[in-house]
């Protein structure tokens, strides 16, 4: 009995907290990808609650009805052989639930791995986001600018973040816009998202990457396309160009504030993608050797 009440009150408290006045970041999506994910989360919570309620109902019934203290001393519980109909139900029920959630999972997984729904006709904005201990570098190849620890994006436009790392594996995560994806040293991964409303969003590295991990955050700001264009224009007029030496200096472990440059580091320190993906870390002479070999 005590167990039942303790348990019910806990579920109840959780429900209150979950639906409380301050919506949780993940459940307060501001873009189509995060919205898909939030919907999947609600669907799965609802489905799983059904199972939990059934299990609880049976458990409580059994505990109340078949307590030893409620039965006569000479009651001898029967030997019950398994019944094919009962077995069919307890196998069939989980199977049905899993088929349903399997469909939800597969369809939503394909959805978040492509250009956000409703934005297919627009040219996506490509931003390279690379991590180094414990910073994020954002390169805009088309706009020819680079920022550190903050990123501005235009709203209502599909964005493709190209992720990689100058060090440990990190995970690029903006909870209100899309789920996370790893950034690694030998491969580029792609995260699709779009922001539906202008505003500021929290972004961070979610994957443990050493001492400065807790502070490895960045700010995301969504602007209207017009404001975004003005911002780019402004940078071209005010910021200094990034040089290789300066970039190598930035890569050193530590924390930096927000920085802005013209040009991108992609020119002298390209991302590990394309033909030489994962293999363009050696020096130039090594690569020449490779080409000689292939000539044989």
């Amino acid at each position: 009995m005590k167990l039942k009440w303790a348990f019910l009150s806990l579920v109840f408290t959780m429900a209150i907290v979950l639906t409380g006045c301050e919506p949780l970041l993940v459940l307060n999506p501001q873009g189509p990808q995060a919205e898909t994910q939030a919907n999947v989360i609600w669907i799965s919570i609802a489905t799983m609650s059904v199972i939990l309620i059934i299990v609880l109902a049976i458990l409580i019934t059994v505990l109340i009805k078949y307590r030893a203290s409620k039965q006569s001393d000479d009651y001898e519980p029967p030997h019950i052989k398994s019944n094919p109909i009962v077995e069919g139900i307890i196998i069939g029920f989980p199977v049905l639930i899993i088929i349903f959630l399997g469909i939800v999972s597969v369809s939503s997984t394909y959805k978040v791995e492509t250009t956000p729904e409703g934005y297919e006709d627009q040219e996506p904005l490509i931003i390279y986001a690379s991590s180094s201990n414990w910073k994020w570098h954002f390169s805009y190849p088309e706009e020819d600018i680079e920022t550190v620890n903050y990123v501005f994006i235009p709203e209502d436009r599909p964005i493709e973040f190209k992720l990689y790392s100058y060090g440990p594996i990190t995970s690029f995560w903006i909870p209100q816009l899309a789920g996370q994806k790893y950034a690694m040293a030998d491969m580029v991964t792609t995260l699709h998202l779009a922001a539906e409303n202008p505003g500021e969003y929290m972004g961070r590295n979610a994957n443990f990457s050493g001492e400065g991990f807790a502070e490895n955050k960045f700010d995301v700001t969504a602007l209207t396309q017009k404001e975004f264009d003005e911002w780019v224009e402004d940078i071209h007029q005010t910021a200094e160009p990034i040089t290789e030496d300066e970039f190598n200096e930035l890569l050193k472990p530590g924390h930096l504030g927000k920085l802005t440059f013209t040009g991108t580091h992609l020119d002298f320190s390209p991302a590990p993608e394309g033909e030489h993906a994962g293999h363009n870390h050696g020096d130039a002479s090594e690569q020449e050797d490779h080409s000689e070999h292939s000539n044989h």
Binding site: S82, G179, K181, Y182, G210
Partner: protein
């Protein structure tokens, strides 16, 4: 000088030095104590050289409890550090070491040895055997585990603890980003105890397949034995992967190879794959025996036969197979395409089917039963809803698209504690209480046990349910601190409070052992719980030879058959019993292995070579050793049986 600097690294916190001093003092106190009470001979003869599966089982459990307190202290420190925003109780590096050791200790040196300890004690009794198939190998398994665990703990004092998480992902774990010897400790401590575990796997498969009592067909084995068989099959398939992965990591760090680097064709993603190809089956290695324990306990205290025996067995077989097909769900976010993620998403959530079947079977076992609320049963009852929640959030995490939001957050931390604590920890505590009279011949106090149960259950809920919420609110795991603006503060404080309640529960459990040792009546008889399976057909505590006469079995509830249906378990005359000799060599090999590991960690090659020679010498010695065991005479058996108030003959 440089040589010595590697051993004594500087710590910013006086706390660490204080703990080091405490460890030193306790060690000295133990040595002095044993010498003062003249117990060295007893320790050596009765415990360190034993090959008896019962004593080895007890040693496993004692070590696991010790490690539970080590890992628990880590847990309390983490919860304390994150209880309030911007706390400075631990710095980032120290916090990283604490959560790394917490994870490794709890999985490798607490949960697994506890499970293996219970298996050691119970499985031979449940199948009516005198010991395991290879008693000497069993002792080696234990000592390798024990010295692996000790080696890992030495890292705290000498050289620095590992700090790359228990998952130890490269390149973070490489020399470049983790320059201290900590990760070397990780590699060698896990390697040495892992070899021990692999031997356990082989040993128990042989034991269960070859040494069952007459009449005990596979489908007439008690459920815990079935679970143990499947667990050990998983061990034999999964652990070699860990062995090789650790070896590759060792080569990367100590010999400059490039298996997991991002240069020269190495690949960091390979470590993640290898780690989880072992790591996912590993969690089923923990949970299957737990399922077995619950099956025994629920059936006993409902006074009912286990419902759906066949579907219980088949669902465990399915879980074992599936355990090798889901590893990728630990990194859905690593950039595979949607098709790959979809496949692994389906295999992952499909595990819920056999698990769900088991939950319903347990519920139906209680149906029409006569439920007694003893301590083991309370743990089993609480397990059902709590594990259902853990399983439900597991299914949620298994949905790949949504996992992008849960991954690496406190939601994940809440989930795996939600399955491991009510799943594994409740199970071993239930099993510990249930089989305690089997081990020591008296009962643990029920009243204190119930207090501990409530503290643990409520503490668990308060400690981990808030994490589901903070995870969805964007709190990443493994952050040593967070700002006040995030709003994570109150819920983290609640977690800390819950962790405190859990600490009280574990203190109560230890107190219960002490209290019961002093005050519990010693004449509990052979069947204090009105149990059903074969292990209860012998005396409490179990005599050295287990069963005076080999039992003949006709169902999975052999003891129940004897009590209720007049089945004759022991229908033979006493005969001489052949027993294996004890040996100090397994212990010596354990010591040599730990010297080998320690020397390798610090690249002291002379120590490596000498200890390797010693290890091979032990093996050669074994090859030429002429030991044939000894015999317990019929007279001795009769005397022992009479002392226990007459055999059931």
């Amino acid at each position: 000088m440089e040589f010595f600097e590697r051993f004594a690294i500087y710590h910013p916190s006086p706390l660490i030095y204080a703990s080091m001093v405490a460890i030193g003092l306790v060690s000295i106190a133990i040595v002095v104590g044993i010498t003062y009470f003249k117990k060295w001979g007893y320790l050596w003869n009765e415990w360190l050289t034993t090959v008896d599966h019962k004593k080895i089982g007890i040693m496993y459990i004692i070590s696991a409890l010790l490690m539970l307190f080590r890992g628990g202290a880590d847990a309390i420190m983490m919860r304390l550090q994150t209880a309030v925003p911007d706390n400075s109780f631990l710095d980032a590096q120290h916090y990283n070491e604490v959560f790394t050791t917490h994870g490794v200790v709890m999985i490798m040196f607490m949960a697994m040895p506890f499970i293996i300890g219970l298996m050691n004690f119970i499985v031979p009794l449940q199948i009516g055997a005198r010991d395991v198939a290879f008693p000497r190998l069993n002792a080696i398994s234990f000592w390798l585990f024990f010295f692996g665990a000790m080696l890992f703990n030495v890292s705290f004092v000498i050289g620095g603890s590992p700090d790359a998480g228990w998952t130890n992902y490269y390149p973070l774990a490489s020399n470049e980003f983790s320059p201290s010897v900590g990760v070397n400790y990780y590699n060698w401590a896990l390697q040495i105890s892992g070899i021990g575990t692999l031997m356990t796997g082989i040993n128990f498969i042989a034991t269960i397949l070859k040494m069952r009592a007459p009449g005990m067909k596979l489908m007439k084995m008690p459920m815990f034995t079935w679970a143990s068989l499947l667990t050990n099959v998983i061990i034999v398939f999964a652990f070699p992967v860990l062995t090789i992965a650790l070896l590759m990591g060792t080569f990367d760090r100590q010999f400059g190879t490039n298996f997991f680097t991002s240069m020269n064709g190495g690949m960091d993603m390979m470590w993640a794959n290898l780690f989880w190809i072992w790591g996912h089956p590993e969690v089923y290695i923990l949970i299957l025996p737990a399922f077995g324990i619950y099956s025994e306990i629920i059936s006993t205290f409902s006074e009912r036969n286990l419902y759906g025996y066949k579907s219980m067995v088949w669902s465990m077989v399915l879980i074992s197979l599936f355990s090798f097909t889901v590893w990728l769900h630990h990194f859905f976010t690593m950039g595979q395409n949607a098709f790959t993620n979809s496949i692994f998403s389906i295999t992952t959530i499909a595990i819920a089917i056999p698990t769900g079947i088991k939950i319903f079977n347990w519920l139906l076992t209680m149906w029409k039963g006569k439920i007694r609320f003893t301590v083991p049963m309370l743990y089993s009852i609480a397990f059902i809803p709590l594990f259902t929640i853990g399983g439900a959030t597991g299914v949620m995490l298994g949905i790949a698209s949504a996992d992008y939001q849960y991954h690496n957050t406190m939601f994940l931390v809440a989930h795996f504690h939600n399955v491991i604590i009510p799943g594994v920890v409740f199970a071993v505590l239930a099993g510990f209480t249930y089989w305690w009279p089997k081990m020591f011949g008296f009962m643990l106090n029920e009243k204190i046990g119930k207090w501990a149960f409530w503290f643990l259950t409520i503490g668990f809920c308060l400690a981990f349910f808030p994490m589901y919420v903070t995870g969805l609110d964007g709190q990443a795991r493994r952050m040593y601190t967070y700002s006040e603006a995030t709003g994570f503060g109150p819920l983290n404080m609640l977690s800390f409070f819950g962790a405190g309640l859990m600490a009280i529960a574990f203190a109560l459990i230890v107190y219960n052992v002490y209290y019961s040792f002093r005050h519990s009546p010693r004449n509990v008889g052979d069947d204090p719980w009105n149990a059903r399976s074969l292990e209860w057909a012998t005396h409490n505590p179990v005599p050295e030879y287990n069963f005076a006469v080999t039992p003949e079995v006709k169902s999975s509830q052999a003891f129940w058959d004897q009590k209720k249906h007049g089945h004759k378990l022991f229908d033979k005359e006493y005969e001489e019993i052949h027993m294996p000799n004890k040996s100090g060599v397994p212990f010596i090999m354990g010591v040599l292995f730990s010297i080998f590991g320690f020397s390798f960690i610090f690249a002291i090659w002379i120590g490596v070579i000498l200890s390797a020679i010693g290890i091979f010498a032990c093996m050669i010695h074994r090859t030429f050793e002429q030991v044939h065991g000894f015999h317990i005479s019929v007279k001795e058996i009769k005397e022992t049986e009479e002392k226990f108030g007459g055999a059931d003959k």
